[in-house]
Amino acid sequence: MMLAAFDVWILSFSALTVLITMGMGYWAAQKSRTASDFFVAGRGVSVGWNASAISGEYLSSASFMGVAGMVMSSGYDALWYPVCYACGYLFLLLFIAGPLRRFGAYTIPDFAEGRYDSPLFRKIAVIFVLFIGFFYTMPQMKGAGTTLSYIFKDISWFGEKGLPYPVGVVLVGGVITFNVAVGGMKGITLVQAFQYWLKMFAISVPVFVLMSVYGSYGNQLAVQGAVSPAPAVSAASGASMASANPASDSLRKPLPAKAPPDATWLNPFGPLTSKAAKAAKIEGPATRPYALLYTYSLIIAIVCGTAGLPHILVRFYTNPDGVAAKKTTMWVMILIGVFYVFPPVFGVMGRNLLPALYDGTGVNGTDKIVLELPKVLDAAGGPGGIRWGSILSGITCAGAFAAFMSTFSGLLVSMTGALAHDVYGRMLRPQSTAAERMQMFKWCAALTGGVATLLGCFVEPLEINFMVGQAFAIAAASYFPLLFISVWWRGMTLQGAATGMLLGGVFALMAVALTNVSTLSLDKGPMGRLFAPFAPLNEFWAHHPLLRILCEQPAIWTVPMSITLMILVSKLTHASVPSDVRLKMLVLHAPEKLGLKQDYIREHEGVGH
């Protein structure tokens, strides 16, 4: 029988998620008719809906699957990712959210053009929407490929066992692209709000069930370091160790040789941050300065990058006013903060209960721990002979679907919006009608969806969370300085803003791309052969660990570089500060109740706004 090849629970939960998503998208599409509905959901989304939708869009495969996988593979250092993903919003709230909303524009390119009165700057800003967007879609596609390979792992495909990774990528990419093309922004606001709550349910419920069977978060962590022959334990802790041993043996399975040992896994400056130094044959405490540098660069990338993600920023325009934008951010921080407590628990439990994943690579590696971990309950047996493990695994698979579907569709909308609204509507054919633009939205969605799917096929050997971190690093060096300084410094000129954003972003992009091609060249599969010409880079990294860190995590030098360039070039070209900069600043900062926006619009009526 065909069905015997699948786990019924997992398949049905996943299929249900896809169907509900598509159904809601289609239903909302019936209701979105105007161009404003397509691009910013009519600007009238309530705080609760909008906060859920932003959270739903933000919690991607990286958060749902990648963080757990990375905590399992690298331990403590990986915790910086979820914390900074959540905390980055604070920066957004403190410096950018309110002013940006008051300024009122459809997209970031709109802001760039409006603030500097320059259509050229719009083009540069659009390029970055696409750069960051494509970088961010790759890990989502990896999540899709991994999940589908897991669901269909027992199927036979042209004589080979298991669904090939690219098939899953193409399948999911196609479905979501279709969904966006018919629904636009209004469609996905509703879907994403629903998907947030699905993800929250799917990540938390299995954790509580697993904890009730195998012991709490703290107990699972307590096992780490309690069994391994840790050097230099005092007599007192030695005694408590002896009593902990029998309990911990039942709590954890033996680690394979590939897994990092407890001491480095549990403590800061472990395998993730000290990898470059280790590759350069630096041992012991000498690796710690390198690891500290890596940690700081990672923190800067994610905290600043969150404030510069184009697909998140576009959502602030769906708030009715600046106060609502602030309240929305507060709720987003609570919603995602609660969520981010859970994925690391999967990582910790995975290390104890499913260490076999350390030996896998690609779709069989630690990135699938969230999907596979609940299955261990099946072996334990449950009441009534029901396979609770499969049911829970089905729920986490549904959550994974929600994760990559929501983020991918959000990215697709912002990239498609950039193409249809900015490139087509403003640059190529400014005289096009609203109906023509909506038609173009659909074609652009198909185009960007296709390219993103193609790119996704290449990245199987890379870790999901790692790739997302890189997209953040690019955003941190381009959009974040642009927004931050444009909002708070009147002296910024077009030339300064463009130079800083372009060079900062391009350097960050090149640095992370270099790291990726050298990592891909190490892969044992087809990607290794494709990227083989880059293999000598790894030899170079081994001799220059510092350069390797600065390329893998470039934020620590690209963000200051971008900001410095902006200020320097602006000072040099201060004659070209926009003449009405004071009015622009008023619109950005004055409370909306004062109604200064009207003055601004009146003043700009003559110049085609």
Partner: protein
């Protein structure tokens, strides 16, 4: 822009377009934002330093967690919520104050 300097400050309509109004507006808001950002950055950038210079204390156990894991994995989130909540309350109050000040001039 010249008209701002030409007209006396007492004209309420012109006041909102004056240099001094914008300056005080931005300065007050930026001061609030920076105060909140600093309290957050001290915690965020201080934790790696604590890990670096006091590894033994940070790897001490609290209910199974190491101290450092407990702070980063759980306690960090409520801290950030607290800062965000204070900021939002103060910044909304600040906006209302600014609106009141402008309206008071009109009367």
């Amino acid at each position: 822009m010249l008209r701002d300097m030409a007209t006396p400050e007492s004209d309420p309509q012109e006041h909102t377009h004056s240099e001094s109004f914008l300056r005080s507006l931005m300065r007050r808001q930026l001061k609030l934002s920076i105060t909140c950002a600093l309290s957050f950055l001290i915690a965020l950038l201080g934790l790696p330093l604590l890990n670096y210079f006091m590894p033994d204390a940070m790897s001490g156990r609290v209910g199974g967690f190491t101290l450092s894991w407990l702070i980063l994995g759980i306690l960090f989130f409520p801290l950030v919520w607290g800062i965000a909540w204070v900021f939002i309350r103060r910044s909304i109050a600040l906006e209302e104050l600014e609106v009141d000040e402008v309206n008071a001039r009109k009367r």
